[in-house]
Amino acid sequence: MAAKLIPTPGQTVGPFFALGLDRPEWADMTRHNPQGERLTIEGRVVDGDGAAVPDALIELWQANAAGRYDHLADEQADKKIDPNFHGYGRVATDAEGRFRIRTIKPGPVPGRGNALQAPHINVAFFARGLLRQLHTRIYFSDEPANASDPLLSSIDEESVRRTLIARRGEGGVYRFDFVLQGENETAFLDL
């Protein structure tokens, strides 16, 4: 077998990424009017001192309302692609470390073996001070399927598991904070 190429290392997104990467319209994944339940996710990003992180970039990747990803590797013939939803979103934090995204509730997607994964949004998280991205997921507090989700079930401590779950509040607005260090540190994934 041919020798593999060495992958390019990540390097920090730095403090000036908005120049090239901030596309405010990409924070609204409902902008092409996809099928599905509208929701808003908002929250704050804080560092190990609890200070706001004003230079973070949050990227989102999710299935459509039926639970199908708009990608060739998703071969679930029983679920339709939604031409108005490509599944990718992006938002930068403001000066107070806050962010808000508009999207639709993803459907459940298959896991490994015969498992079904609870509805979730995949997150790639970048910031000044992070030399490469962190990976995590956003789940939904009012979702019964969380109880049998393979990732959530693999986390023993409730205090860690709950950092992955957006809390539903008034009017379909969910709250999800990214805590980079400390007591309520967000659970980040080794993928």
């Binding site: 041919a2 190429l5 060495i6 992958p7 390019t8 290392p9 990540g10 390097q11 920090t12 997104v13 730095g14 403090p15 000036f16 990424f17 120049l19 090239g20 990467l21 560092d47 190990g48 001192d49 200070a51 990227e59 990747w61 299935a63 990803y69 708009d70 990608h71 060739l72 590797a73 998703d74 490509h86 990718y88 997607v109 298959p110 896991g111 490994r112 073996g113 790639a124 970048f126 000044r128 001070g129 992070l130 030399l131 490469r132 991205q133 962190l134 990976h135 997921r137 693999s154 986390i155 980079l180 260090q181 400390g182 540190e185 967000t186 659970a187 980040f188 994934l189 080794d190 993928l191």
Partner: protein, 235 residues
């Protein structure tokens, strides 16, 4: 159903760590708890596709966006987006941002005492061709000071963002220039322990890419995570 083909894990030292105290900003931002290892599912091996053009038109010549030409050394930067098995990634989005020739970003947070250039913004995007290739025309960015350590200067660099086939292969990185004396002092560049991996970040000067009387050419391939080795089927 067969398990989806996972992406290969990064090898030790081939990527920067999260906590790297020489880069002071990592100290309060790197996670302290061990990461939770999770085997890839459809969620990890799928990712955004740009074939339909939703990401907008290409903007690959950063020297022609204003009434006049920007100051600085005109450069051509081109290369391929590949995975570890040398498979090209066609139709993928490559984003670029950078400071101007004086070392100043067009960004409100940048207070470096160097002039903005009214003829330079410093952002572009390309969609790779069928061979995974991108090409930008721009100007060589300047070095600039930062406050990480006393008298610290960032080596000249371009910021690149690239998407792989799966969301786990997403890469945001920086490209440096060969022979830059600032590289040896730069903690961001030196954060990757493996020398060969680190040197992937340095473009090659390529006289065949230079255009006579006009611009210097640099070659810069970016290599994203590939698939795990497929074990042989046992009958």
């Amino acid at each position: 159903m067969a398990e989806p083909p996972s992406y290969a894990r990064h090898r030790d030292g081939g990527q920067p760590p999260y906590l790297y105290p020489d880069y002071a900003s990592t100290v309060k931002r790197a996670p302290m708890r061990p990461l939770i290892r999770f085997e890839h599912t459809l969620s990890e091996i799928t990712g955004p596709s740009f074939v339909s053009g939703w990401a907008g038109p290409e903007a690959t010549d950063l020297t022609r966006e204003h009434a006049g030409e920007p100051l600085g050394e005109r450069i051509i930067v081109t290369g391929r987006i590949l995975d570890e098995d040398e498979r090209p990634l066609p139709n993928t989005l490559v984003e670029l941002w950078q400071c101007n020739a004086a070392g100043r970003y067009r960004h409100p947070v940048d207070q470096h005492d160097a002039p903005l250039d009214p003829n330079f913004t410093g952002a572009g995007q390309a969609i790779t061709d069928g061979d995974g290739r991108y090409r930008f025309v721009t100007i060589k960015p300047g070095a600039y000071p930062w406050r990480n350590q006393p008298n610290a200067w960032r080596p000249a660099h371009l910021h690149f963002g690239v998407f792989g086939g799966g969301f786990v292969a997403r890469l945001i990185t920086q490209m440096y220039f060969p022979g830059d004396p600032l590289l040896q002092y730069d903690p961001i560049y030196n954060s990757t322990a493996d020398r060969q991996a680190r040197e992937r970040l340095i473009a090659d000067y390529d006289p065949n890419l230079s255009e006579p009387e006009w611009a210097l050419g640099y070659a810069f391939d970016m290599v994203l995570r590939g698939r795990e080795e497929t074990p042989f089927e046992v009958q």
